[in-house]
Symmetry: C2
Subunit: 430 residues, 2 copies
């Protein structure tokens, strides 16, 4: 049986998972590919940490050239993470004629174009199923199974940390700061949780998904981002009373040739399939003009789930090497579509505010909304706090620009003590 | 730009959808494949029916040889359905060196081996993503994205007709016969609904899924099948009170090298992702040793959703032709695993019965269960009907053989008027 050599760059969480799957499932992998996949070298400084699997010491190296210059290494797995030196190592490997598999969303969302062009130039595979949704098959389904569709909408829960936190807040009525501490204690959130809770991780994944869905190059800089730091237990409680749950959504839409890409918390109807995606699970919803609505669900992170996707890609790269046809499916960003300014997008909105509790207040506020062409679906007075009343508005679909104008005027009214929160409502007839 | 010729056999619902997608989305398809996909001939008797798209009359033929002998037709799409002549036509096309794309689950679930061997012998593609789950990507994700996993469990809702009926019964409290009539009126169920309501359609799809998941050849004859005809509104109501919904599940498991494949109604916990799959939607759940739990959701049937999968396969076959590597991923049934007798499987059970309403009755029945090693989780007295009481038992996991023995003894007790229904409970810690 033929052998395909693999070099792994980085033996952290994902790298360890990849090594475990390649070793533990070697038999089915070989039989399904038609070749033995052999790990030849591992680039890693920490060669002594207990990883739950024995790694032969001779595999370790501190010198990336031991991988780049080994002619028996056909596939390089980059799971170092971060931009540098991952970028330089990947480019070097491809320039040496090696196919590359990576889970590095940060890198693709920033330098995708350079990476794809280098892969194409060298006629090698550059595969990245693990970069979005951990083990959930989504990149290949988009590029192959759903390739016959015009896709105009793709959205999902693509960050496990924030979904865990929002689920806890929702199911246990707890506050943000409290569940963040728990998530950090459990290792789901990092000591500096900004990348997750500020929505940047989700934005990177959205840039990747939307680039494929809409055939146009999008980077993280194109994505409008709001995190979950302002969501309170009260918002979650009121949302539930209105028939919604709050999720951090990554949303990509195409309309009239323009693309909108945004990450923000959103109210999702309780009966929407996305509403029951809890804890660290992820789900990605795709609407195609032929297929209709589809959804992909699973663990969005973790050692073995992410390794499942990485090793699936290694197997694909190996098949392509055996067939002599790497780079079968290259980059499909063959168009250049305008990215819509967030102010030109439209959503329904949930608005929570504190107002003076006296007659005529609601009418005054409603008339500001109306003047700015924000049509109201409902208003509920939730509770009294001294002389103030807390009220929640839900609007019909309104343009962001109009909404912002309305809120600026309303915020300046003497009868309004505070605009406490503004959250978009998604997943209904859009 | 290169051209790839396609012959379509059958212009019924799916065939029409395929033609529409190929014509309406021709631009994105060509740009994503790198070749123009051109429909050259269509085998169809009914050349006048209004199909919602204009078909140039010169494409039609009544003679299959016009497709088989046309050297410019590289890919044949078989969407005639049924066993014969679909089987003969597919074999002839592959023997002529043409790749074949089909949605024909009946044929694959019965003659899969012959079809795969013929494809391999002729070095052509035989692709069938549309045979399970309509437009939902599941075959390719299993064969590629999740290929690194040992899969030990795959189950799903794979029949839209019965899911529509059970959803209606569940949401509207209606009876089986009533919703069947409505499903027939809406065109979701056929005049003779047996294939759907008796579970045969689901069994064919399960044979295909389980063959791929477990690397062993399974046909419809290996699958244990129970339909939904005995499910009553009362069962659905009691299930809800217990925290479950009733779904027709197709379940494939591997344990100790043995495979179990069964289609039957089941109680699913209300918070399980499968529980909110309603109407004609399908969902397939896959548990892999690396990826953990994943789920794939979407429209399981219909003109355009099924066409989405067929055209995705056409595009894949076209790419393989362009690369000169058809048959990259062949059949993966490289093992022969024993199929477990249904009596040797184990489930939790819901049992509804009518018993004489007097002291000691529950204890007498419970002791029979106990003697047969069926451990009980709960018993609830639901209502009185004259001198009888309707009661519902839920068991812990029990062997089917023991359950059947227990029920035979219990059915013979003078205190038991009727065993009204027995339904398995799935989706909890299994």
């Amino acid at each position: 049986m033929r052998k395909i050599g693999v070099g792994i760059m980085g033996l952290g969480t994902v790298g360890t998972g990849v090594y475990k799957v390649l070793v533990n499932n070697a038999d089915i992998i070989a039989r399904r590919v038609g070749a033995e996949i052999v790990v030849k070298r591992i680039l890693e400084k920490d060669q002594t940490r207990e990883r739950g699997i024995a790694v032969p010491p001779e595999l370790y190296t501190l010198d990336v050239n031991d991988i780049l210059n080994d002619p028996e290494i056909n596939i390089v797995v980059e799971v170092l993470g971060g931009i540098s030196p991952a970028r330089e190592f990947i480019l070097a490997a491809m320039n040496k004629g090696k196919s590359v598999v990576t889970a590095n969303k940060d890198l693709i969302a920033l330098h995708g174009q350079e990476l794809f062009e280098t892969a194409e130039k060298n006629n090698v595979d550059f595969l990245f199923e693990a970069s979005v949704g951990g083990g959930i098959p989504i990149i290949r389904p988009l590029k192959q199974c759903l390739a016959a569709n015009n896709i105009r909408l793709i959205y999902g829960i693509v960050n496990g940390t924030t979904n865990y936190m929002l689920s806890k807040m929702s199911l246990e009525g707890r506050e943000y700061e409290d569940v963040l501490k728990e998530a950090q204690a459990k290792g789901y959130a990092e000591a500096n949780p900004a990348s997750d809770v500020e929505g940047l991780d989700a934005a990177r994944k959205l840039a990747i998904l939307a680039s494929i869905a809409f055939n146009t190059r999008l980077t993280i800089n194109d994505v409008y981002v709001e995190g979950i730091t302002k969501i309170s237990a009260r918002d979650i409680e009121y949302a539930r009373e209105l028939g919604y749950v709050i999720k951090l959504l990554a949303i990509g839409k195409e309309e009239n040739g323009e693309v909108e890409v945004r990450v923000h918390p959103a109210l999702v109807p309780i009966h929407h399939p996305m509403a029951s995606v809890n804890d660290v699970y992820n789900a990605i919803f795709v609407r195609g003009d032929a297929v209709g609505d589809t959804m992909f669900y699973g663990r969005g992170a973790g050692e073995l789930p992410t390794a499942s996707a990485v090793v699936g890609d290694i197997m694909e790269a190996a098949r392509n090497l055996l067939c002599g046809t790497p780079c079968r499916i290259g980059c499909t960003c063959y168009e250049e579509k305008k990215v819509r300014d967030i102010k030109d997008t439209a959503s329904k909105f949930y608005v929570r505010m504190k107002v003076v509790d006296k007659p005529g207040v609601l009418a005054a506020i409603a008339s500001v909304f109306g003047n700015q062409e924000v049509s109201l679906a409902s208003v509920i007075q939730k509770r009294n706090i001294g002389p103030l009343a807390e009220i929640v508005w839900v609007t019909h679909r309104a343009r962001e620009r109009n909404m912002q104008d309305a809120l600026q005027i309303i915020g300046g009214l003497s009868i309004v003590a505070e605009i406490s929160n503004v959250i978009r409502v998604e997943g209904e007839d859009d």
